[in-house]
């Protein structure tokens, strides 16, 4: 019986169609795997199916009733997010039953009773921690299990959605999780399992649906297909490859040399970057790519290894030194690490080069304005004027300001960390074009971190793949997608 059914769902964001007429249905007692690259539309689908987003078109039926008309029906769907979002400084039992009203605990909070009621639930989910332990003191796998326990504590759900529940788990811990999932399936619930790890899908999945660019491209029973088929469906073989943005002017001079670098979440990574080259870094979210680059830049600590810029040893742990010497990092988290939100576009641009903007008495406002106007022109930033607070600009325009600002400091090496995250298609190719120009015309060495396979293949001269903090492969730009994908998801 179809417990949850979505018909013809379309969800549009400014500039992007995140989901395009998607039909999908889920049945009781079935583990339904949903798979696709980052940005393929999985998260958007989940958010539509749990009532967070309202789709522009289509309908969602829960037990045959229209859920978009009766939002209460969404309570039948239990959702476990990818990120662990428990209350770290509260006990296991508190976390399990919060909010208390919803869990049927009335009146004053009785610690003893809550803990007593928690015991059988914890046993059911193989959580060994005592109910009175603080969540910050239990293991990651127990936290993950606790999240599931919490989502299903009311027992009045029909569908359980798990968004990449194993990303932070070891194989052994994942097995415990699978046992729990199997148990829930036997209780005749529908399970939606989202994962990047193909081996897990073949281990526990019944049916599989594959997404690409907001479109449902394939549906099958798991036992009728194999890994290469899934990868082909995931990556697609569109002829959209025509336009490429890698650099055509690589020089022999080596700009950046990294040898046996070890730090937080990455181990023994070596690579080198030539003048005018675009070097792509691929991998899953959490593979340690950002941490590696932030460590080279001096933002995070390096435990071991060497970094050389133009053959000279590079000072560690000093972002000021890095910027002065032309190594610039443009963060993935634009909001938290990139922009100065309440300052104007002008101030956001001039901040790195105030030394060069001195007038007769201190900083010259005119020189500052001239520079800002130039950057806005050169990088096609859309803003009403240079005094606009940058927080009111769109993501793409903020990104262009950040690129323009970095270019003012005469960089030798630029690190782009997910430069097109949350950016619409049109602006994306504008940013690719900028990177290509910088590499070819200015001879800048570019490092591109991206989780989008298309993007990394279009833009990089070489591709390095990290998996769980280690370098697991290096590919030329014309390497086939399947072999890169295999390395990304840790096969071999």
């Amino acid at each position: 019986m179809k417990v949850l059914e979505a018909c013809n769902i379309t969800k549009v964001f400014p500039g992007v169609t995140a989901l395009d007429s998607v039909d999908i249905s889920f049945e009781l007692g079935e583990i339904h795997c949903v798979i696709g690259e980052n940005g393929a539309g999985k998260s958007t689908l989940i958010k539509c199916l749990t009532g967070v987003y309202e789709p522009e078109a289509g309908s969602i039926l829960i037990n045959g009733e229209d859920a978009l008309k009766n939002k209460k029906l969404f309570d039948r769907i239990a959702y476990v997010p990818q990120e662990i979002d428990l209350f770290e400084h509260m006990t296991v039992a508190d976390n399990l039953f919060l909010p208390f009203e919803k869990s049927g605990l009335k009146g004053l909070v009785n610690k003893k009773e809550i803990e007593k009621r928690a015991v059988p639930l914890l046993q059911k989910f193989h959580i060994n921690a005592h109910p009175s332990t603080l969540v910050k003191d239990i293991s990651v796998s127990e936290k993950q299990l606790l999240q599931i326990a919490r989502a299903t504590v009311h027992e009045e759900y029909d569908v359980l959605m798990l968004d990449e529940p194993t990303t932070s788990l070891t194989t052994k811990d994942a097995q415990v999780l699978f046992d729990v999932i199997e148990q829930i399936r036997k209780a005749n619930k529908a399970i939606v399992f989202i994962s990047h790890k193909l081996e897990e899908i073949f281990l526990i999945g019944d049916v599989i649906t594959i997404f690409r660019n907001g479109i449902k491209v394939a549906y099958s029973k798991v036992n009728e297909v194999d890994t290469p088929w899934v990868i082909t469906q995931m990556t697609g073989r569109e002829v959209d490859q025509s336009q490429v943005f890698y650099s055509d002017k690589i020089e022999d001079e080596v700009l950046l040399e990294v040898e046996h670098l070890t730090g937080q979440r990455f181990t023994d990574v070596s690579f080198s970057l030539k003048k005018g080259e675009i070097l792509g870094f691929s991998g899953l979210v959490g593979a340690g790519r950002s941490e590696l680059m932030q460590a080279i830049f001096g933002y995070l600590p390096i435990y071991q290894g060497d970094v050389k810029l133009k053959g000279e040893p590079f000072k560690r742990g000093d972002t000021c030194y890095s910027v002065k010497n032309g190594l610039i990092y443009m963060p993935e988290e634009r909001k938290s690490q990139g922009i100065l939100p309440m300052l104007s576009v002008r101030e956001n641009i001039s901040i790195s080069v105030l030394d060069e903007l001195q007038g007769t008495i201190g900083i010259s406002k005119k020189k500052e304005a001239d520079l800002a106007e130039k950057v806005i022109r050169d990088y096609d930033v859309k803003t009403p004027d240079i005094e606009k607070e940058i927080q009111y600009l769109s993501g793409g325009n903020q990104q262009k300001v950040i690129i323009g600002r970095s270019m003012c400091c005469n960089p030798k090496v630029l690190i782009f960390d997910e430069p097109t995250k949350g950016i619409d298609v049109g602006t994306k190719s504008q940013i690719y074009r900028m990177m290509k120009d910088l590499a070819e015309k200015e001879g800048i060495g570019i490092i591109l971190i991206s989780s989008e396979m298309e993007e990394i293949r279009k833009c990089s001269n070489r591709i390095i793949v990290l998996y769980e903090g280690r370098k697991v492969g290096e590919f030329a730009s014309d390497a086939d997608k399947e072999s890169i994908m295999s390395a990304v998801i840790g096969i071999n």
Binding site: F297, Y299, T319, C320, Y321, S322, V323, K324, Y329, P331, S336, Q337, G338, I339, L340, P341, M342, L343, E347, S350, I351, S352, L354, D355, I361, G362, I363
Partner: protein, 334 residues
């Protein structure tokens, strides 16, 4: 009838929309107007001089405090630094027989040192600024008591006394010093690189690090500047009283923060103008002055002045609430 009443409210709101600084300026002007209408003594030259002399101190400390608030921190030991430096300048002059000017310079230097101690422990030990400076206020206040045993040091020479008691034309010296501090600080925040960096740090500390700004170094620097400014205020207060007392600066931490916030400096950091702190100080001082002039019962004075300060602070958040509502409307119509 109702519309008539709404008119001035509307005009206040439309001023608030334009800029925080003009809005606070308007509030100040309104208060001066009200005070002079309601009390014939307000514009009396003696009253004005003593008012300006009072606000000079809160204003000076407020200007320093606003720098810390802009980087998203604060210093609750400013009053104790002021009194400790004031007392020590007195001890150097009276007990050790130092040259008065040399004593003043030495006390200023001490303020710089105490400020940088605050900065160092907060950055290096990664402490919360509020808790750390409450602790340090205890330490500085304690040293103060050990040195003075609670007694005032009297007989400050006339050459020093004049800085607190005298006037440049009609303007009391302390206020002249406050204006000098304001001009220097404004030059610092508007025209220098480091000045711009403090706004960057207050806006987004992580982004500032990614930009290659030496965040901790600048934080320590601002703490030492605030220490220096506090010492100056402390010395001037000693000069005003003609004696060094450990009770100097009791209310300065809270008043300086209130003055900054009234003046449009955000407690969360990143926004504000030190000049606003001086206007805020003026508003607080006028409130206190009016309460005295209106003959409010002594026991009620503190409650009334506190209440009016809360109203004054809410002006800056009212404009934020208004902006937010406007934004929401724009989004909805889109």
């Amino acid at each position: 009838m109702n519309e008539e009443r709404l008119k001035p409210v509307n005009s206040v709101i439309s001023t608030l929309k334009k800029s925080t600084m003009t809005a606070i300026g308007a509030v100040l002007a309104l208060m001066v107007l009200m005070a002079s209408v309601f009390s014939p003594y307000f514009l009396d030259i003696y009253n004005l001089q003593s008012l300006i002399r009072d606000l000079a101190f809160i204003g000076m400390i407020g200007i320093g405090q606003s720098l810390l608030l802009i980087i998203g921190e604060l210093d609750l030991s400013v009053g104790k630094i002021a009194s400790l430096c004031g007392i020590l300048s007195g001890i150097m002059m009276m007990s050790w027989g130092w040259n008065p000017y040399l004593s003043l310079v030495a006390a200023l230097f001490l303020g710089l040192v105490l400020g940088s101690i605050n900065g160092l422990i907060i950055t290096k030990l990664r402490l919360n600024a509020m808790v750390a400076t409450i602790g340090m206020a205890g330490v500085y206040g304690g040293i103060n008591l050990v040195l003075t045993k609670g007694k005032a040091i009297t007989g400050i020479p006339a050459s020093v006394h004049v800085f607190g008691k005298g006037s440049l034309g009609p303007i009391p010296y302390p206020f002249v010093f406050t204006l000098i501090v304001l001009i220097l600080v404004l030059f610092f925040v508007k025209k220098t690189k480091t000045g711009r960096y403090i706004y960057a740090i207050g806006n987004n500390r992580d982004a500032a690090r990614v930009l290659g700004i030496k965040v901790d170094k600048i934080r320590i620097m601002i703490y030492s500047m605030v220490g220096l400014i506090s010492a100056l205020a402390g010395i001037l207060y000693v000069a005003r009283l003609g004696s060094a007392q450990s009770s100097i600066g009791e209310n300065w931490p809270m008043n300086s923060i209130a003055a900054s916030v009234i003046g449009g400096v955000a407690l969360t950091g990143g926004i504000g103008n030190p000049a606003g702190a001086l206007i805020g100080a003026a508003i607080i001082s006028i409130i206190q002055n009016m309460i005295v002039l209106f003959g409010v019962n002594v026991y009620w004075q503190s409650a009334v002045s506190g209440f009016v300060v809360v109203i004054a602070i809410s002006f800056s958040s009212l404009s934020a609430i208004y902006q937010e509502k406007k934004q929401r409307k724009i989004k909805l119509t889109k």
